[in-house]
Symmetry: C2
Subunit: 240 residues, 2 copies
DNA sequence: CGATCGGTTGAGTGACGTCAACTTTCGTGG
DNA sequence: CCACGAAAGTTGACGTCACTCAACCGATCG
């Protein structure tokens, strides 16, 4: 019964048996959802969503119908310590694949934070890491070529997958379409396709309808100029 | 002797006299710095920087010499709860104008957080707001036209200036060059200049060498499609 | 008074978006 | 088992937007 949420938090702070139990219990109310399901303004009016299995993303729709994906979420990631704290939600969250999502009522989360300083700090740190990811995204969008940009995003996702043990060192399969990829890198699907084609010809990727497969991460990282330090993969206090 | 840092934190949590005193004391060690001065890896090996006066920014240099500005900082903003926490700094921080910067040793910050839950929460919340700003930046870079993008950034800065009482409703003068602006929106200085020209012709801006002046914020906001909700301007518990 | 830095403008190029057609895959129902 | 339709992917032609290169202007500062 391994809970990816607990695993993630354990990566940021030594947890007592009690702490782990509390975290795991908090996830007991979970649902299985289809791809493309919107989470926000759902269930309890202000709750924290935790991805237990599958993929999700934060995104924003624009008046002209365009969509920008702001961040990807994979098992262990949690959606929001905000919703409750800050009045309005300026973006949405949706599943990208079939996913299992836990909903933790805001009050329960508050209680956890107040009762357990170690958890509170761990949450805080995950937040800092997320912020680092957002900063890296901004750099990519502002100053990298489209090829570097796509490669950089895929690299990041590969490293994150590996960090949480979703995959080994083997090929990394990401279960989303080129359209999703396009929405994330800020390009049109057509042009994204052309970039992906070049990456494939460079031997870094393979494709299957509905998923991207990174077959040669080292090559991809070289193309992207990728440096994983900002992900702070695993901090040093992994307690045994 | 009003301290913008204290003012900002007070915006996020009711502070006792004691709290305010603690915060203010923490800023007592401050320096005046010239424009373009790099802060990171400076002073104490891991410290928190607080902007007391002037402007600063986070930025990242790329191998090809390009620079991406990731975030602007104005009085009251603080630079880093990270530096110490997460091992490596993946970007830099620099002054944009002559600025007064306080340096709070990491240990002292830790002590404050541990001793005062109310401060801890307030810090956390400022972090959430900062994250919202980063998300908005990503949306701009990915899906807005260059004109909207420049306008959106300037709008954001105007609102933030007003929120902290840096200016009234009057014209908003931002003391940086078009080059800085270009580094922030991810365009070349030349093209930024052309965009700025159009905004000027639209009657939203004026320019002076070394600064941008927003003379008609409403017009600019309309061009940008700007909605300030993500800034969470002032939360509701401003204690008297 | 010259040097430097920011700003301004023009001409030419390349990258990315748009539009449109066509293919492949997959799921569904006859 | 096959037929169909929907959704993803692929490719080409073409237009526009943003970059590059280059020249020049205007302030400010030593």
């Amino acid at each position: 019964m391994t809970n990816p949420f607990v695993d993630k938090i354990r990566g940021y702070a030594p947890l007592s048996r009690d702490d782990e139990q509390l975290l795991d219990d908090a996830c007991h109310q979970s649902r299985s959802l289809p791809p493309g399901h919107d989470l926000i303004r759902e269930g309890a009016p202000s709750a924290v969503f935790v991805v237990l299995a599958g993929w999700a993303c934060r995104y924003k729709m624009l008046p002209d119908g365009g969509r920008q994906i702001i961040a990807f979420m994979m098992p262990g990631d949690f959606c929001d310590l905000h919703a409750g704290v800050l009045a309005e939600m300026d973006h949405s969250i949706a599943t990208l694949t079939k996913a299992r999502i836990a909903t933790i009522p805001r009050a329960r989360m508050e209680a956890l934070i107040d009762a357990r300083p170690s958890l509170s700090k761990a949450f805080w740190w995950t937040q800092l890491v997320d912020e680092g990811v957002l900063r890296a995204t901004i750099v990519s969008m502002g100053r990298r070529t489209t090829m570097e940009r796509v490669a950089h995003l895929l690299c990041e996702l590969c490293f994150r997958m590996r960090n949480i043990g979703l995959t080994g060192d083997g090929p990394y399969e990401m279960p989303f379409s080129q359209i999703v990829l396009a929405d994330a890198v800020g390009l049109t699907p057509v042009h994204t396709n052309r970039v992906v084609k070049k990456l494939r010809e460079a031997g870094a990727l393979e494709m299957r309808p509905g998923s991207v497969i990174v077959s040669d991460l080292a090559r991809l990282a070289k193309i992207a100029g990728f440096d994983d330090n900002y992900l702070h993969g695993r901090l040093n206090h992994r307690s045994g």
